[in-house]
């Protein structure tokens, strides 16, 4: 399989003006503008949400589940991402936010931050067992894992094969808190568009234990309304180590590996991976790469500014360990946290399935690139002149789609017309 044909990131055709802003920011060149609107190339999309962030017309959105999905289950467990805690100001404690979730139709709450602590322990153990190698790359961010699949397949063998905190939380709920029951639904409260996709088409696993993904921005208002009146209960048990996963460097600190590198924002992540592929960073042991600015607090499904949100999480970390000292529901994960299967490369950027054919297309690409202005203006609907040349070589675009080439042709035609105009048939020539 070459990646899911389902993606959380989609386009609202009524809002898209075909303006080409999104195509420039897409890290896998997965968007083309055709017939006045943006199209996403499924085989290249990594669900990073960069287009959602950059679209000036709010035409890009992430499909997630509505709160009404809860109705299908007798037991309805909310799995709040630690980022949720940062979306409300300091008046609202973590306990209050979790208590308010129970007012919205959930019957139970299990914090993803708690599962993150187990994932951090498993990651530290795995790295210790791996010995001298490295640097190892965290698999927590689905957009980063997919970026590796599409753009950096040679780095896939550096992925830490441990499931994400979301998946770990869902499994703990199903296998330990409610074992053997079929009427339990678990719902991730998500800052992240990519989590919607991986809850249906997981990475490294055959099947996800998550039943639905609800966007923080969709639950924000009902939750905000419930917050002021709810009776606060002592629900939270996640420590600072888990809560800190909401922002960059939080996971590295939780894993506790010396010489860790934290990088956030997809363009910075790409430059780190470029350097890693070139054999640099031999002194780094662990890479925590998160696609969104400042980490998950910068996710496209959040409401609050990422940096304000990060400041709040950091403040929360100072008090988190008091809550973590409460009587625990689970002392350890008690379930397997390893991948079931290897994460494979995706061939979305390949020109053709056959290497010889691809080589002919690459050669044509070079010829076309030479003839283009190199302005990367985007008028052709492709992000760069080179990407357009590849589309031409693949037969997905025609060279006259470049307005500069088109203008050149028109000019040539006009010149020809002009020169023909001065030529008269000899019989009519009166000079």
């Amino acid at each position: 399989m070459n990646g899911p044909s389902f993606h959380s990131v989609t386009l609202d055709p009524a809002k898209c003006k075909g303006c080409t802003t999104c195509i420039r920011f897409c890290p896998t060149e997965a968007i083309r503008v055709r017939k006045g609107r943006a199209f996403i190339l499924d085989e290249r999309c990594i669900d990073c949400g960069e287009c959602i962030r950059t679209c000036p017309n709010n035409a890009k959105k992430a499909v997630s589940d509505p709160l009404s999905v809860l109705a299908d289950y007798a037991v309805r467990v909310a799995l709040p991402a630690p980022t949720l805690y940062s979306q409300f100001d300091e008046r609202f404690s973590v306990d209050r936010i979790l208590s308010a979730l129970l007012e919205l139709g959930f019957t139970d709450v299990f914090e993803v931050a708690r599962a993150a602590e187990f994932v951090a322990d498993a990651t530290a153990e795995w790295i210790a067992a791996a010995g001298d190698g490295g640097p190892w790359i965290s698999s927590a961010c689905p957009a980063v894992v997919k970026l590796l699949q599409v753009r950096f397949p040679s780095l896939l063998d550096r992925l830490v094969p441990i499931i994400s905190p979301m998946e770990a939380a869902a499994r703990i709920v199903k296998e330990r808190l409610y074992p053997g029951r079929t009427d339990v639904g678990v719902f991730f409260i998500s800052p992240c568009a990519g989590k919607v996709t991986v809850s249906r088409y997981p990475l490294g696993l055959a099947q996800s234990a998550v039943d639905g993904v609800i966007a923080i921005k969709d639950i924000y208002l009902p939750l905000r309304n419930a917050l002021s009146s709810v009776v606060e209960r002592p629900i939270s048990r996640a420590g600072a180590r888990g809560v800190a996963w909401a922002h960059i460097d939080g996971e590295s600190d939780a894993v506790g590996v010396p010489r860790a590198l934290g990088v956030s924002g997809i363009s910075h992540v790409i430059s780190v991976f470029e350097a890693l592929e070139n054999g640099k960073m031999k002194d780094v042991k662990f890479i925590e790469a998160l696609a969104c600015p400042a980490g998950c607090v910068g996710g496209p499904l959040t409401v609050e500014n990422p940096y304000i949100a990060r400041a709040r999480v950091r403040a929360l970390e100072r008090s988190a360990n008091d809550r973590a000292a409460r009587e625990r529901r689970v002392e350890d994960a008690g379930i397997g946290l390893g991948f079931d299967e290897a994460v494979r490369a995706r061939s979305g950027l390949r020109l053709a399935p056959d290497l010889l054919k691809a080589m002919i297309m690459l050669e044509e690409t070079e010829v076309v690139v030479e003839s283009l202005p190199g302005l990367d203006c985007g008028s052709c609907g492709a992000p760069t002149c080179r990407a357009f040349a590849e589309d031409v070589a693949k037969g997905d675009a025609v060279i006259a789609g470049c307005i500069f080439k088109l203008r050149e042709n028109v000019r040539k035609m006009a010149e020809e017309l002009l020169s023909m105009e001065s030529i008269q048939p000899p019989g009519l020539d009166k000079d």
């Binding site: 399989m1 070459n2 753009r151 397949p153 040679s154 780095l155 896939l156 470029e274 592929e277 070139n278 054999g279 640099k280 494979r344 490369a345 995706r346 061939s347 950027l349 390949r350 020109l351 053709a352 399935p353 056959d354 290497l355 010889l356 691809a358 080589m359 297309m361 690459l362 050669e363 690409t365 070079e366 590849e390």
Partner: protein, 144 residues
Amino acid sequence: MKLRYQVSGDDLSLAGKASSEVKRALGRLGVDPGAIKRTAVSMYEAEMNMVIHGGGGVAVAEFSPERIVITMEDSGPGIADLDLAMQEGYSTAPEWIREMGFGAGMGLPNMKRNSDELRIESEVGKGTTVTIVIIFSVPGGGQA
């Protein structure tokens, strides 16, 4: 097919651009990830050497269905003792380069380890030409 790149000798921040372009091309061809990585490592090292020691030059990548041959030619000072340069840890890089984390003398042996064939022709006062050959393990295969 051949791709040709000019490597600037005075801007370290641009170093790695040629190897990055070659990497992109190999990805478009669907070459096996192992070969892409070996090409990246060995060409990047050679490109760094070209910038640091050779004063820049020209990199040519020649693609065929079985292999890539990279030729990197500079008109720098040349290498006086090639055997010595091939030793782990030997370096003539100036101090400021080492402070940036480069020039630890790993260049040539690392290139040799990562390539299927490495040829270095050098003449003192004239320049150095490095030829790197990487053979693809499964032509067109290796990816889902």
